[in-house]
C-alpha cells in the first residue's frame, strides 16, 4: 500500500518544479543538478525517497538506477525516513581525544539507541560521524546540520529536553513517514554491488537488516529466495531462484533492465 507521502509526491514535485528548473539551469550539463535536487527533495520529505530519486533522474536525463547508484554514495542522503532531530556527533580524532567517547556514550545511554538508529517515538536519530571540521570546539556535533560546540552532559540534557518539548532553536526536519529503527541500507546490501566487502570470513553480520550479501561479498541465495523485491517501477515481484538459475526479477519496463 502506498503511503500518504507517496500519494502526495506528484503534488510536491509539481510545486517544486520551478525551483528544480532553476537549479538544473545553473549547469552546462543537467546531471550536475542531481545532488542539489536531492537536497531540495530531502528538505521537504525528510529523506531521499525512491520517488524523489526517480523524479530527479527524469529531470536530469538519467535512469533511476543511475540516480540511486549515485545518491547511495553520499551519507547525507538518508535513504529511509529519519527522526525529527538528526543528531550527528563527531567521532573524529581531535574530538575523540577531547572527550567525544564520553559524549557518545552519554547520548547512547540517554537516547537508548546506538549508531544509525532512531528512537521508537521517531523524535531522534543518532549517528556518529567523521570529523566535522570544528576541532577547536571539541566535542562537537550537528543537529539537523547546525553545529553545536563544546558538548557537556548538562548541555546535552538541556538540548534533548528542549527538543522533546518542541522548543529547540533548530527547526525539526520534515517527517513525512514514520521512521523505522534505522535509515541506513546495511553495508551488506552495497556488498552485493561488488563494493566494500568487509573481509572474507563469510559470517553474516548479526545486524543484517535486510541486505542480500554476506560479509564476504557473496550474494546469499537464502536471502533472496522468497523475498519480495520492490523494483523501480513500483511493481512487486517475487524473485525466483533455484540451483540452476541465478535471479530473475520480472519488470514492467524492460528499459530498466541491464542498467
Amino acid at each position: 500500500m502506498s503511503s500518504d507521502r507517496e500519494k502526495n509526491f506528484p503534488a510536491l514535485w509539481e510545486r517544486l518544479r520551478p525551483e528544480c528548473e532553476r537549479i538544473v539551469s545553473q549547469y552546462e550539463r543537467k546531471r550536475s543538478a542531481l545532488l542539489p535536487l536531492m537536497h531540495l527533495f530531502q528538505a521537504h520529505e525528510g529523506f531521499a525517497s525512491v520517488e524523489a530519486m526517480h523524479a530527479a533522474a527524469e529531470m536530469v536525463g538519467i535512469t533511476p538506477a543511475e540516480a540511486e547508484a549515485t545518491v547511495s554514495f553520499y551519507t547525507l542522503f538518508y535513504r529511509r525516513p529519519v527522526g525529527k532531530y538528526m543528531l550527528q556527533v563527531c567521532r573524529g580524532l581531535a574530538c575523540s581525544i577531547n572527550g567525544a567517547e564520553d559524549v557518545m556514550a552519554y547520548f547512547r545511554e540517554k537516547l537508548g539507541i546506538g549508531h544509525l538508529q532512531t528512537t521508537p517515538d521517531g523524535v531522534f536519530s543518532y549517528e556518529e560521524v567523521e570529523c566535522l571540521a570544528a576541532c577547536d570546539r571539541a566535542s562537537c556535533m550537528q543537529v539537523n546540520l547546525e553545529f553545536v560546540y563544546d558538548l557537556t552532559p548538562p548541555k546535552i540534557d538541556e538540548m534533548l529536553d528542549a527538543m522533546r518539548a518542541g522548543a529547540y532553536a533548530v527547526a525539526p526536519m520534515a517527517q513525512t513517514e514514520t521512521p523505522s529503527r534505522t535509515w541506513a541500507i546495511p553495508q551488506d546490501a552495497q556488498v552485493a554491488g561488488g563494493r566494500k566487502s568487509r573481509g572474507a570470513d563469510g559470517v553474516p553480520r548479526p545486524d543484517n537488516a535486510g541486505g542480500i550479501g554476506d560479509a564476504s561479498g557473496v550474494i546469499m541465495l537464502d536471502n533472496i529466495i522468497n523475498r519480495s523485491i520492490t523494483g523501480f517501477t513500483g511493481t512487486r515481484e517475487r524473485a525466483v531462484v533455484d540451483s540452476r538459475e541465478v535471479v530473475q526479477v520480472a519488470e514492467d519496463e524492460s528499459s530498466h533492465a541491464g542498467h
Binding site: 552546462e28 546531471r31 537536497h39 577531547n98 571540521a133 577547536d136 563494493r195
Partner: protein, 421 residues
C-alpha cells in the same frame, strides 16, 4: 609570537559577513583593479612571483598549476575546493562562515587569471550554515555587479555556481570532486589526464583550495614581494594552521611559514599543566606524527617532508602523554576505511582489514603477529591506488607503531593472559 592577521584579520572581533563591512576593509577593490587594469597573464605572473602554493594539502605552486592549462581560448572552469574534511582541519569552514566575501573575491580573481567564465564552489554538505552565508554573500555581490555579465563594464562575464556536497570525504580529492560536480559518485579518476587538460565536463579545469584563492586578494593588494619576503626558501608567505588536540587554546592561527613547531604549540596556549608532549600530527589525518626531536624544525613544506611527514592542509593535532595511540590509530584507520570509495582493492580491502585488526587491539584482544601484520598490510596499500586516500592510511599508523611499539604489543599480551585455555 609571530601570529599575523591577513586572511584572519577581524575574524572573531567583528562581523564581516555583509558586503558593506567587507568593502570597508577594502573588499572588492582588487577585483575591480584586476578586471579594469590587469590581464589574466598579469595575475598568473603575480601568483608565480609570490611563491603561493596550494593550501589544501598538496602544496603545489598555484601559478604553475594554472600554467598547465592549454593555451587555446576554449572553455575552462575554476572550481573552489571547500570540501574541507581532512581530520583536524577547520580553516576553510571558518573563512566560509566568517568572511565569505573574501572567499568569493579570491574565486573571482582566480577565475579571471585562467580566463574562465564559470566558476564553481564545492561546499562540504555538512557546512549548511556556511552555504547559506555564502549564498547571501553571492547575492549581494551579484547585485553590486561584481558577478555576472559585463563586470565593471569591461565586457568580461563570470558566473558563479554554488554546489553542495552530500557527505563524502573523498570528494575533497579534485577528480572525485569533479565527478561529484557532474552528478556522479565521488570516485577519483585516473590521472593523467589532469584536470587542467580534461576536468569538469572534459574541459580544462583548475581546482584550488579556499585558502589558496583567498590569499590572491592580499597578494594583489600588497604585492608578490610582500608575500614572498615571508617564509622559507621554498615555502613562501602565510598559512592558517588549525591547532587542536591537547593544547589550552585550540584554534586557527595564521603564521608565517617556517615558524618553529614549538612556537605553534605555544601560540595555542601550550600543553595543559603538568603534561608532556607525546607527538604532533602536523598535516591532517593523512600525515605521520613528528615528535619531541622535531620541535625546533621550521613548520614548512620541506622540513615536514624531511621529518617524514607533511604540512598538508595545516591541521596540527597535538597529543600529550595521556594519549592512547592504539585508539588513535584505530580511529584514523577506521576513518579511511569508512571513506574509501571502493574502487581500488588495496585501499578498500586493506583499510577494512586493518580496521578489524586494530579494533581487536583496542579491546585488548590482539593475537600474536598482529603488530607485524599491520605494518605489512599498511605497506602493501601505499602507492597502489588511484588517489591519495589509500596512501593516507599508513603514515600516522606506522609513525606511532614504530615510536610506541609497546603500546600496541601490550594489547596482544593481554589476550594471552585472558585466555587460560
Amino acid at each position: 609570537m609571530p601570529v599575523t592577521k591577513v586572511l584572519t584579520e577581524g575574524i572573531g572581533e567583528r562581523d564581516m559577513r555583509g558586503i558593506d563591512a567587507y568593502r570597508q576593509r577594502g573588499g572588492y577593490k582588487q577585483w575591480e583593479r584586476v578586471v579594469r587594469e590587469l590581464q589574466p597573464a598579469d595575475v598568473l605572473d603575480l601568483a608565480e612571483k609570490s611563491g603561493l602554493r596550494g593550501r589544501g594539502g598538496a602544496g603545489f605552486p598555484t601559478g604553475r598549476k594554472w600554467s598547465f592549462l592549454p593555451k587555446d581560448p576554449n572553455v575552462r572552469y575554476l572550481v573552489c575546493n571547500c570540501d574541507e574534511a581532512e581530520p583536524g582541519t577547520f580553516k576553510d569552514h571558518m573563512l566560509l562562515e566568517e568572511t565569505p566575501h573574501l572567499v568569493l573575491e579570491g574565486m573571482l580573481v582566480g577565475a579571471y587569471a585562467i580566463a574562465s567564465h564559470h566558476a564553481f564552489i564545492y561546499i562540504r554538505g555538512e557546512f549548511k550554515r556556511g552555504y547559506e552565508i555564502f549564498m547571501a554573500a553571492l547575492d549581494e555581490a551579484r547585485a553590486a555587479g561584481y558577478v555576472g555579465a559585463n563586470i565593471f563594464g569591461s565586457g568580461y562575464d563570470l558566473e558563479v555556481t554554488v554546489h553542495r556536497g552530500a557527505g563524502a570525504y573523498i570528494c575533497g580529492e579534485e577528480t572525485a570532486m569533479l565527478n561529484s560536480l557532474e552528478g556522479k559518485r565521488g570516485e577519483p579518476r585516473l590521472k593523467p589526464p589532469f584536470p587542467a587538460v580534461a576536468g569538469l565536463y572534459g574541459k580544462p579545469t583548475i581546482v584550488n583550495n579556499v585558502e589558496t584563492l583567498a590569499y590572491l586578494v592580499p597578494i594583489l593588494e600588497r604585492g608578490a614581494q610582500w608575500f614572498a619576503a615571508v617564509g622559507t626558501e621554498r615555502s613562501k608567505g602565510y598559512k592558517i594552521v588549525s591547532v587542536s588536540g591537547h593544547v589550552q587554546r585550540p584554534g586557527n592561527y595564521e603564521i608565517p611559514l617556517g615558524t618553529p613547531v614549538r612556537e605553534i604549540i605555544e601560540i595555542a596556549g601550550g600543553l595543559r599543566p603538568g603534561r608532556t608532549l607525546a607527538a604532533v600530527q602536523p598535516g591532517g589525518g593523512s600525515s605521520a606524527c613528528i615528535f619531541e626531536e622535531h620541535l625546533d624544525l621550521p613548520y614548512d613544506y620541506e622540513n615536514m617532508a624531511k621529518a617524514g611527514s607533511m604540512l598538508g592542509s595545516g591541521a596540527f593535532v597535538v597529543f600529550d602523554d595521556t594519549t592512547d595511540f592504539v585508539k588513535c590509530a584505530y580511529n584514523l584507520v577506521r576513518f579511511f576505511a569508512h571513506e574509501s570509495c571502493g574502487q581500488c582493492t588495496p585501499c578498500r580491502e586493506g583499510g577494512s582489514w586493518m580496521e578489524r585488526v586494530l579494533e581487536r587491539l583496542v579491546r585488548g584482544r590482539g593475537v600474536p603477529g598482529d603488530y607485524e601484520m599491520l605494518l605489512r598490510v599498511a605497506g602493501s596499500i601505499t602507492g597502489l591506488n588511484l588517489c591519495p586516500l589509500g596512501d593516507s592510511i599508513e603514515p600516522f599508523l606506522k609513525s606511532v607503531m614504530v615510536r610506541f611499539p609497546d603500546a600496541f604489543k601490550a594489547r596482544i599480551a593481554g589476550v594471552r593472559e585472558a585466555q587460560p585455555a
